[in-house]
Each structure stands twice: as structure tokens, then as C-alpha cells.
């Protein structure tokens, strides 16, 4: 992770995500198994992005890539 304090949370989420992607998502199952792990990882990332001053750069670049997301780590 860009900050080592988020690495354990990222690893847990990544493991869940790759499992979910091949065992659920690609098989058409619309479950949300990794939600809690993602929220924990996102919460950690949010503080790092803010500390590094990346929030605004991310927001500014969103239109150019067609990203529908807003804020940093929030829906």
C-alpha cells in the first residue's frame, strides 16, 4: 500500500476480492461478501490520501476518465 499502515487491511481485502471475483461475481452471484473488509481498508486509505494531498488531484481527474465516484473513499 502507499502507506504501510494500510498494507494488512489491503491484503485482507485483496484476498477476499480475488476470491469473490472468480467464485461469485463471474458466476453471476450478486453478493457483497467483502464489504466490511473494504470499508476498513477504505477508511485507512482516506486518511493517507488526505495527508498526501491527493484528494483534489483525484477529484480533478475524474471527469477525464469518466469516473462516477465523488469524494475520497465515499459513495
Amino acid at each position: 500500500s502507499i502507506d504501510s499502515k494500510c498494507t494488512p487491511l489491503k491484503r485482507e481485502f485483496d484476498a477476499c476480492f480475488t476470491w469473490w471475483y472468480s467464485e461469485k461475481f463471474l458466476k453471476g452471484e450478486k453478493t457483497n461478501d467483502c464489504e466490511q473488509l473494504f470499508k476498513a481498508y477504505q477508511a485507512c486509505l482516506k486518511t493517507v490520501l488526505h495527508e498526501k494531498g491527493l484528494d483534489k488531484m483525484i477529484d480533478d481527474a475524474r471527469p477525464s476518465i469518466g469516473s462516477p465516484f465523488t469524494g475520497s473513499g465515499q459513495k
Binding site: 502507499i2 471475483y21 450478486k30
Partner: protein, 180 residues
């Protein structure tokens, strides 16, 4: 402005190649990709489309001129992607965050089943590199250097994905053996 285009056929089905995309990093073929973070992700309950926003941090040695003009060799890239499991498409669009006032690099990637052989996957990649007019006579040279680096990275990126595909295949074979 410089344009980059590449296409490749991966000899694996679309589901496997799209999974390999998510498992690509870290990869010894692509040491320049240092960190990849998922910033946002959701799935549309109606269409089943998976939408993901990722932040990618890239760092690699660059020509002295590039380092001087940009003031560094590390950059952040923002990527937005959509996976449509019914249409079997993975579409990705990315843009550099860092140095954006000097150089804009926008990349578009599509993974989809190969029309001639649906058990294989077609990968198409296109990118636009545009240096700022503020760089004056250096603009063309900077664009050329960055295009060359982009080309190099694209080649190792492809090797990296092939490597992950081999790994996935080996895991599946191992699983089949243990269940016999």
C-alpha cells in the same frame, strides 16, 4: 501529440484474463508499478456491472531531461474501469494525476472475447500523450521520450499478465490434482 496503439490475443478465456487483470500487481515484470489501491468500488444490482476506481503509483528511472523538466520520477495515475459480466467486457480508462500541467497521458484498454475464437481474449490498448505548450521546443522531445517509455512499459505489462495467467493455470491444475 503522440498516439500509441497495441493489440494482443491472450490464449485464455475472458473470465480468466479479467481475473488476471485484478491479480496483476505486484509483478516482477513491472517493477515500475509500485502500489495499486482500490479507492472506490460498487456493483450495479440491475446490470451486475462492477465499477472500480484505482490509484496507481509508478516510479522508474527516467532520462535526465525528463527528470529535470518534471522534477521527479514518481507519479500517480487514476484509473476507472467497468466489468460487464454479461457482455464480457472489461473497459479501463486512466489518466496521470502528477505532472498533469506538463504532460497528459490518457490510456484506454478493453478486454473482450476474441470474435474469431471466443475461448481467447482480445486486448486492445490506445493512449494519447500530449505535452504542454509551456514546454516550448522541449514539448516534442518530451513526448517522444514518454512515448518510448510507454511502449517499453506496455511490452513488460503484457509479459506480466501472461505470467499471472500461467500462475492461475498452475493453481487450477494443482487444485484438480488434489481433488482426485
Amino acid at each position: 501529440m503522440r498516439l500509441f496503439e497495441a493489440a494482443h490475443i491472450f490464449k485464455h478465456d475472458w473470465e480468466t484474463v479479467s481475473l488476471a487483470n485484478w491479480r496483476k500487481y505486484p509483478n516482477e515484470q513491472t517493477p515500475h508499478v509500485r502500489h495499486v489501491e482500490i479507492l472506490n468500488q460498487d456493483m450495479d444490482p440491475e446490470t451486475g456491472i462492477l465499477r472500480t476506481e484505482r490509484l496507481i503509483m509508478v516510479q522508474q528511472p527516467v532520462p535526465a531531461l525528463v527528470r529535470r523538466v518534471f522534477g521527479g520520477d514518481a507519479s500517480y495515475v487514476l484509473e476507472y474501469s467497468e466489468v460487464d459480466p454479461q457482455k464480457k467486457t472489461l473497459v479501463m480508462q486512466s489518466q496521470n494525476l502528477t505532472y498533469s500541467n506538463l504532460l497528459s497521458v490518457g490510456e484506454h484498454i478493453v478486454f473482450q472475447p476474441h470474435t474469431e475464437n471466443p475461448s481467447h481474449t482480445l486486448f486492445t490498448q490506445s493512449a494519447q500523450l500530449k505535452a504542454s505548450g509551456a514546454l516550448f521546443r522541449l514539448a516534442n522531445k518530451i513526448e517522444d521520450m514518454c512515448w518510448n517509455r510507454f511502449n517499453d512499459n506496455a511490452k513488460v505489462g503484457k509479459l506480466g499478465l501472461e505470467q499471472v495467467l500461467s500462475k492461475i493455470l498452475a493453481e487450477r491444475q494443482a487444485m484438480m490434482q488434489t481433488s482426485q
